[in-house]
Symmetry: C2
Subunit: 406 residues, 2 copies
């Protein structure tokens, strides 16, 4: 029967689980800590002090942790995470935690514990640079998105996999929180810094912006291009100085590829905006923002190169046409721009914010950073259908972030 | 256990089926005829001579009837037809046969027998005009496509319905026969009139055309907009002088709306091309072609008006933006043009042809008609992304059909 664990009961569970033996001395001295900092789940790290090994257990709660039992959320989402992590691990081993087992009764996933990795959002607030961050994420995306698309899979195999990813409840969270509520003046879950009231009113009155956000929402709901991670912000990436991993694919479903790339890039730009305050020194600020833009560029160019390289060997004659491939990549780029913008705006006006901005305690200072992010987000959403190269995206970000080359 | 019926065994089946009593005097004098003329199924009409009532039974064979047992095709497709017909009947009663029962063991659908209706393709070869044909089909499409889209359904309800429509094998037929093989010089199932060898070679070498056909195929496989009929040619419409019904939804799945509208319109244009020979009198020919173009216009305008009328009452605030709605309709129009073109070309070069053209025995005459259809089909596929109003589609057809107003 399902029951949420605590740091004591999780140890009993691990001791009794046959799979755990492969990763821990389950008869030894075990110790557990709960480290969940996200919106949805319990996360336990279980250490074996005898052999100094460990594993991580992520258990879904039947409600949204950040909101409490009044916002129910089926614990079945752990199954989506299990299936997505297994596929990602197959396509991109070394870029995600190794999955150990999935318990469909207790709705938990046991996996590799990333011992000295940290969620990158927080170090990035202090100006931390990760070598090859963009290239690694671009590589992850080229691998996972290509492998689960019609270019790699037979239509029957793809539809068979799709049956495991009718992730209705978590898609609804995205539909509501990312695409719908931020554009509604009276959505009760919205919250924002009172210092930007006028900015919010202004964008919520922008009919063109709203029509473009609606088109992006419609595509999110209707373009089953590939198994996307679905929540690829900088809180879903963990790293140390020589290793980068993508975590938390519980939002995974078959959707538009650009949603993942856009989520990552949008979060780099959010970080860039927050350094308006986090980096008071103008030279340091400019330099870090240049780093962020370079990583965004690297993410796209690595994704594009990796995807094109795989497309060059595509087996179905339908997809070998070069103009078709070019137009396909161009459409993913347009989506990338639009989704990056949506993901930025929802973090300032919607229910779930980001620490990059919300950690800025002075509301006037925070508003300065938020206005920069709003400017980028609005332009990316409004102009996404006209974006013709990644330089167009860079130009929009660079203008607001005041990073100019040459 | 599954077994294919014949005209004797079907009567025993009907006599014993409890549902049949509602529609026939099952103890009376029953008579059956097999009338299947399609590519896939057995179709029995069972008459009750005592009360002069009847019903129709469509049984799926486990292979493609037109090809024989060497081309297996799961009989489970009868289930897709049953679910699709039930939904269509709910959205558009009076525009489809009334479903009576579905037998999931014997893979058959029992339904209303349309006593004096004929498949419209054949009378149209003789110049038959059906009053309100286009408007009726446009109404059917507005009703069924809107009701199964994200505009009418909650995302969870839509995905629940989608689970019943992973119509992999029949989608594969469309993917292969409509979008892939006609563009390949060496696809073994292709066949065409030897008199148009040069025309076929020319279009199979057209890189722009092939890239656009690939894009339309990709959209067919990835745009889960609504439950589409999936095979809405003039062989899937039956009518008498005062009643029009859409039949045979076994290809139904969640796909792009424009595929249905395009299939209908493309088949009107195929008919128009065939009248190059069927109507030797120039005035008569011009008049019938004008009728066909008017019906195509009526189909689109009725669909658009009906869809917009429903959209005006859409409940989710995401979809109320007028520019969003306009752009959505515009995208369905572009798809309509492209799919109309694909459906025309595949009937001349692919595996399955249409009687409109294949009934023309003289190969040189047939080639004259086919070249007209190829001209329209190529332009619709090549130029579909630039189509901005239905007049653009009409202009392409009217030019090749030599119908000019004024």
């Amino acid at each position: 029967m399902y029951q949420p664990f605590d740091v004591d009961t999780i140890i009993d569970y691990v001791r009794q689980h046959p799979e755990a033996l492969k990763h821990l001395d389950t008869a030894g001295q075990l110790e557990a800590v709960e480290v969940g900092d996200g919106n949805l789940n319990l996360v336990f790290k279980v250490f074996d002090r005898t052999t100094d090994r460990s594993l991580l257990i992520k258990q879904a709660l039947p409600y949204v942790r950040a909101a409490g039992p009044s916002w129910p959320m089926p614990a079945e989402r752990a199954g989506f995470e299990a299936r997505a992590l297994a596929l990602e691990y197959e396509c991109a081993p070394g870029l995600v935690p190794e999955p150990y087992w999935f318990d469909e009764v207790l709705m938990l996933n046991a996996m590799e514990n990333l011992v000295d990795h940290r969620v990158i959002r927080f170090p990035m607030m202090e100006g931390k640079r990760y070598r090859d961050l963009g290239a690694t994420i671009g590589d992850f995306l080229a691998r996972t998105l290509y492998a689960t698309s019609d270019f790699a899979l037979d239509a029957a195999d793809k539809r068979e996999i799709m049956k495991g990813f009718f992730n209705v409840e978590l898609c609804r969270i995205t539909e509501d929180l990312v695409f719908t509520e931020p554009y509604l003046p009276d959505a009760p879950r919205n919250r924002w810094n009172p210092r930007i009231d006028a900015d919010v009113a202004d964008f919520q009155a922008d009919e063109h912006l709203k029509s473009q956000a609606a088109a992006l929402k419609y595509r999110f709901m209707n373009a089953s291009q590939a198994l996307i991670h679905g929540d690829l912000h900088t809180g879903s990436i963990m790293a140390n100085d020589h290793d980068i991993r993508v975590i938390d694919p519980e939002f995974a479903f078959f959707g538009p590829m650009g949603f993942d790339i856009g989520a990552f890039i949008g979060n780099l730009f959010l970080s860039g905006a927050s350094h308006e305050i986090h980096s008071p020194d103008p030279e340091q600020r400019r330099s870090y923002r240049r780093y962020l833009i370079d990583e965004a560029k690297a993410a796209w160019s690595t994704f594009e190169a990796g995807f094109r390289e795989r497309l060059a060997d595509v087996s179905s004659p339908s997809w070998t046409s070069q103009p078709f491939q070019d137009e396909f990549i161009a459409s993913v780029l347009r989506d990338t721009a639009g989704y990056a913008g949506c993901k930025m705006l929802r973090r300032i006006v919607g229910f779930a914010h980001v620490a990059d901005l919300d950690s800025i305690e002075d509301l006037d200072e925070r508003a300065r950073a938020e206005r920069i992010a709003i400017r980028i987000g609005r332009r990316l959403v409004s102009e996404h259908a006209q974006v013709a190269s990644f330089d167009d995206i860079v130009a929009i970000a660079a203008e607001a972030l005041e990073v100019h080359d040459g």
